[in-house]
């Protein structure tokens, strides 16, 4: 079953859902389906229970961080220069918000096919990081969604037990985000490299040691 037919099946059975096929240019050819968070649980339940697919096994759940990028584009705007209207090129820089993405790899134990890949994105990386939890549909997502919450900071609504799993409870940041800054804990290292070397230098000057 191709992803296109799966898409049309879902569209026929889950009214109002917004789907998008994300193509994968690599030789693996594993294209994925971006689903909208509002209908995620309905889509997941349909995929799990509907007869032709029966994707009863949610194998892998993972987060991906896509930080915001600075996009510079040349824009032509009309300006009054010396009283004459002229077209002037200007470089306009915009900062995109970036988003966090959650990827589900689904297989069918009954029909032995797969993977069907679902993706969901948050709106940004700061506050609007809520996504619906698919743990009520596939219990196997429980620990893996907890891990994404812990390491990426996606908040799964409807998760039965959303706590940190690998880091301790008092921990503040989300270490798998790409802009995560390591705490500045310096340890003597005989073969310092690049940034460690820089850090070692700073600490030595602070400590008054050469």
């Amino acid at each position: 079953m191709t992803l296109e037919t799966i898409e049309s099946e879902i569209e026929a059975n889950v009214p109002g859902c917004v789907l998008e096929i994300v193509s994968n240019p690599s030789p693996s050819g594993q294209h994925s389906l971006r689903i909208d968070p509002a209908h995620a649980v309905a889509i997941a339940t349909f995929l799990r229970d509907a007869e032709p697919l029966r994707l009863d096994y949610c194998s892998n759940v993972t987060g991906v961080d896509w930080p915001g990028k600075e996009i510079s584009e040349k824009v032509k705007i009309k300006k009054l220069v010396d009283g004459v209207e002229q077209e002037v090129e200007e470089v306009r820089k915009t900062q995109t918000l970036g988003h966090l993405e959650v990827v589900y790899h689904l297989y069918s134990m009954e029909k032995k096919h797969g993977p069907v890949i679902l993706r969901m994105s948050t709106e940004d990386r700061a506050d609007r990081v809520h996504l619906p939890s698919l743990t009520p549909v596939w219990r196997s997502a429980e620990f893996q969604e907890r891990e994404i919450f812990d390491l990426y900071g996606v908040i799964f609504d409807g998760h039965p037990d959303l706590r940190r799993i690998l880091m301790w409870d008092g921990f503040q940041d989300h270490p798998m985000r790409r802009d995560y800054v390591e705490p500045d804990d310096f340890e003597y290292e005989p073969t310092p490299h690049d940034e460690v070397l820089e850090r070692a230098r700073q600490h030595r000057t602070i400590m008054g040691v050469q």
Binding site: S26, P27, Y57, T62, V64, H105, R139, F143, R164, L166
Partner: protein, 385 residues
């Protein structure tokens, strides 16, 4: 990972119901020999019975995935050894398979055979030792474990002469394997494989009708078929519940489709079935090994087109999974065209299999938790990553 405050705490059953008795909250682990590593369970007890059980992870967390994002593709290979440190060769294979999918690399015939041989040897030694640990958890102070270790030694000797290391093998490469089999290796492996059926007979005779083993395992920790599927349990634990799903058959990665082997299935889904499925799986592994050691062709062991230095797959993503001894081990990679993976994810079978631990344990005694946990077969290096 929550921080432990007290090891033992008395809590009321419900607010205002003190007269009915009390529950006891016990922190089991992390330094407990039965937890197979640094693993903790927050257990709530009603007398000797388990009421609640919350697994607590993270004591061995080193953010393997973040390390791998800052490493070249090849540089992550030795780190995969350290995930499930009992089965480094299957970890290598799963990662190599994911990269091969990502970059579209073909693997030569001989390398495929070597991969199957090493993976099945890994499965054999993992299951043998697991049964040894399981019986030790039940109080069979070491005899089955020592028997298993004696056989494992033969396999580790084979690994050492092939890869140079006994446990941290770091052997598979993208598009094949690192070195060719040394002279006399196949004969040595054949001799080892020929000696295993005798060991399995002995093992089975020692344990299969043992009264203590049956009393401690039969009907303990029953996992239903539907719940096992929904909870994403994989590997022998899943098959003990009667679900016929083995990635070797379902996905036919490598050249598994050329080998005739059966998938042993359990009926009850209890600890005894999990033990028995592993024992039978070892016999099936021996069948594969015999065939593979007979048919292994001569030829190159690595695809010559794959670069060792400066390996940069095109942008894209790939997910590959294999049937590791512990279950369905998957690697998910996203490439952005640079020499490091943009995203590197391990789908750890041990972690997902622990989802069902609470349900399996509720209603049983504390001593049974140890046995149930032993039958799930976890390695903390993989659970915490």
């Amino acid at each position: 990972m929550s921080t432990a405050t007290e090891a033992i705490r008395i809590i009321p059953k419900s607010p205002g119901a003190n007269d009915e008795g009390q529950w006891l909250e016990v922190s089991m682990g992390p330094q407990h020999p039965s937890t197979h590593g640094v693993f903790r369970m927050d257990v709530v007890l009603d007398g000797e019975r388990i009421v609640k059980l919350k697994p607590v992870f993270g004591y061995l967390h080193r953010n393997h995935e973040k390390i791998a994002e800052n490493e070249s593709y090849l540089g992550s290979m030795p780190y995969t050894d350290r995930l499930d440190y009992f089965c480094s060769l299957t970890n290598n294979w799963a990662y190599a398979l994911a990269v091969e999918k990502l970059a579209g690399i073909q693997v030569p015939e001989r390398a495929e055979y070597i991969r199957i041989i090493t993976a099945e040897l890994t499965r054999f030694q993992n299951h043998a030792c697991l049964i040894g640990f399981l019986t030790q958890d039940m109080g069979a102070s070491g005899t089955p474990l020592m028997y298993a270790f004696r056989e494992r030694e033969k396999i580790l000797d084979l690994f050492e002469s092939l890869t140079g290391a006994r446990m941290m093998c770091n052997y598979m490469r993208f598009g094949g394997c690192r070195v060719d089999l040394p002279a006399g290796w196949i004969e040595q492996a054949r001799a080892a494989v020929a000696s295993f059926p005798r060991f399995l007979d002995e093992f089975e005779q020692l344990l299969a009708s043992n009264e203590i083993l049956m009393a401690r395992t039969q009907g303990v920790g029953v996992l239903s078929k539907e719940f096992a599927v929904n909870a994403g349990v994989s590997g022998p634990v899943l098959r003990a519940s009667g679900v016929n799903y083995d990635v070797r058959k379902a996905d036919k990665y490598g050249i598994y489709d050329r080998f005739a082997f059966k998938i042993p299935l359990g009926e009850h889904g209890d600890t005894y079935d999990r033990y028995m499925v592993r024992l039978l799986e070892m016999r099936e592994s021996l069948k594969i090994l015999e065939l593979a050691l007979r048919d292994i062709p001569a030829g190159p062991i690595v695809d010559p087109k794959t670069k060792i230095r400066g390996f940069r797959p095109k942008p894209g993503e790939a997910y590959a999974h294999i049937e590791a001894p512990k279950g369905d081990l998957g690697f998910y990679l996203i490439s952005d065209g640079s020499s490091n993976p943009y995203r590197y994810r391990v789908r750890p079978p041990s972690l997902v299999n622990l989802t069902v631990l609470e349900e399996l344990c509720i209603g049983h005694n504390v001593a049974d938790v140890v046995v149930i946990l032993g039958s799930i077969d976890i390695v903390m290096g993989e659970v915490d990553r």
